[in-house]
């Protein structure tokens, strides 16, 4: 058997140990569950800028001259045009008439809306058909292989 006092003290000791273990593990686990999001938050995501501000629209090699490409800019479509004169132009692809998505026409060298035959020139100006306003122009910069489109200020 043993000294009843001693076993009482032993029980108290092990009880204390369990409580300390519970407290310690609870506190540590909870701190970890707070620190984990904070650390992941601090690390920048791949998308460094809001995609409604700046987007890599295409690679230089991807778009031949006299062709266009629709890409996502924020939550709206946008149009990137590589002109025959080797210029890069970008516009919001939302037609100013009734919001259809416009496209580049390589035979006419203009921008066309298939819904009601609206036509814009390569400066985005509405030249024919129902569109009441020009297309919003976006800024294009070529950095190495990337064609970067940003909202114009």
């Amino acid at each position: 058997m043993g000294n009843p006092d001693r076993s009482g003290m032993e029980r108290a000791q092990s009880g204390r140990r369990w409580v300390n273990l519970l407290l310690g593990s609870g506190v540590l686990a909870s701190i970890a569950s707070f620190l984990y999001p904070a650390i992941r938050y601090i690390i920048p995501s791949e998308v460094a800028e809001s995609t409604s501000r700046s987007v890599v629209a295409a690679q230089v090699s991807e778009l031949k001259r006299n062709s266009g490409k629709i890409f996502k800019f924020g939550s709206k479509p946008a149009l990137l045009v590589h002109t025959t004169g080797d210029e890069w132009k970008a516009f919001s692809a939302v037609c100013t008439h009734l919001n259809c998505t416009v496209q580049y026409r390589d035979d006419h060298h203009d921008i066309w809306c298939a819904c009601h035959n609206g036509v814009y020139d390569l400066a985005g100006r509405n030249v024919s058909g129902p569109p009441p306003r020009p297309l919003d122009a976006l800024q294009v910069n070529v950095q190495g292989e990337d064609v970067i489109v940003t909202r114009s200020s």
């Binding site: 909870s30 707070f34 999001p37 904070a38 992941r40 938050y41 601090i42 690390i43 995501s45 998308v47 800028e49 809001s50 995609t51 409604s52 501000r53 200020s153």
Partner: protein
């Protein structure tokens, strides 16, 4: 573990007397009685303030304070940054929780007369801190540059303008111009992350030092009971007993905040359009509702004063009275309960609650 702690503490003690701080903390006690539960609310408010500072700093890493970018940057935080939704929602919810606990703390101190001599300065710094907290709330509300924030700011600063003489100056000072514009946003951002935190730090340091120096106040009724032998004076050590209990409360608050962020995420709303008409039912945050609602019910003219102005004057006077209540209720310093002030407190609390509920209807 203990040995390491001991070594560090003695190293610090040799350099700036950390030992005396430790000794003081070990001796700090908290009275135990019927009203002990109210002691927790000050610490809770402080804890929530720390949460605000931490989440606020994290938000600062991505937020941009210009009209072109503010809304988009908050949208970016909430959609693109990992756990950004969590940080942002916690910040917005904790702001409201903090102001709530601040009010509870203030009213409990009021009703338990803890403001009486020698704690008048603690009360004054506390009330000023409450005003600063509401200032934090008001300035922070504009920062996402969404419709709600924009129009709430417009209405709120408009009220400042209705004060004669100083009103025009106050309005242009707050707005950074005649209208709410990008200048207002920049200014409010400056208030929110620099001016108010600076003032708060100073006042908070004063408030906490006073509390440590003066100890915890025991309500007059308990003091009387102890003096008359009906009750025994009981104390618990602040460290570790009270602190462990504090921590339970803080953990519970964290749980509540996390749950709120995940189940009721704070809305982003739509980007502010200064030229669009104000949406129907625009109103300020809940802690300003009672003032908002009161002003709505005032008649166009009170005596010779314009209704809205009279209302603002009344609130101003009430705030001034509230700040100097320890000097008005000087009898409490002798342990005497003046029913008038208890009644005043009940009236204030009831009025604020009733007006807030009315505004929500």
């Amino acid at each position: 573990m203990r040995g390491v702690l001991r070594t560090i503490l003695s190293w610090l003690d040799e350099r700036f007397g950390a030992g005396s701080i430790e000794a003081f903390l070990r001796h700090k006690t908290v009275p135990i009685h019927r009203h002990t539960i109210w002691y927790y609310f000050g610490g809770m408010t402080l804890f929530l303030f720390v949460i605000q500072v931490l989440t606020g700093i994290l938000l600062l890493l991505y937020y941009r304070p210009t009209p072109d970018d503010a809304y988009e940057s908050v949208q970016y935080i909430v959609t693109q940054v990992r756990f950004g939704w969590l940080i942002r929602s916690v910040h917005s919810w904790a702001a409201n929780l903090m102001i709530f606990t601040a009010f509870v703390h203030m009213f409990s101190v009021y009703f338990l007369k803890a403001y009486r001599k020698p704690r008048e300065l603690t009360w004054i710094t506390g009330i000023l801190l409450l005003f600063l907290a509401m200032g934090f709330g008001f300035s922070g509300y504009l920062l996402p540059w969404n419709t709600l924030g924009y129009f709430a700011t417009k209405v709120g600063t408009e009220m400042a303008g209705s004060v004669p003489f100083a009103g025009k100056w106050m309005l242009t000072f707050l707005r950074g111009g005649e209208e709410v514009t990008g200048a207002t946003l920049t200014r409010f951002f400056g208030f929110h992350v620099a001016v108010l935190p600076g003032l708060t730090t100073v006042l908070l340091a004063g408030h906490l030092l006073l509390v440590q120096h003066l100890g915890m106040s025991v309500p007059p009724s308990v003091e009387r009971a102890i003096a008359e032998g009906r009750e025994q004076a009981r104390l618990m050590p602040f460290f570790p007993n009270f602190l462990l209990r504090d921590m339970i409360g803080w953990y519970a608050a964290l749980g509540v905040l996390g749950a709120l962020a995940a189940v009721f995420p704070w809305e982003l709303g739509t980007k502010a359009d200064p030229f669009a008409p104000a949406p129907a039912g625009i109103r300020p945050e809940w802690y300003f509702l009672f003032m908002f609602e009161t002003l709505k019910h005032l008649p166009p003219k009170i005596l010779f004063l314009e209704g809205e102005f009279a209302g603002l004057v009344a609130f101003g006077l009430a705030a001034a009275v509230w700040v100097i209540v320890p000097f008005l209720d000087y009898r409490a310093g002798f342990g005497r309960v003046t029913r008038f002030f208890t009644g005043l407190g009940v009236f204030a609390l009831g009025f604020m609650a009733a007006m807030s509920l009315l505004a929500l209807r």
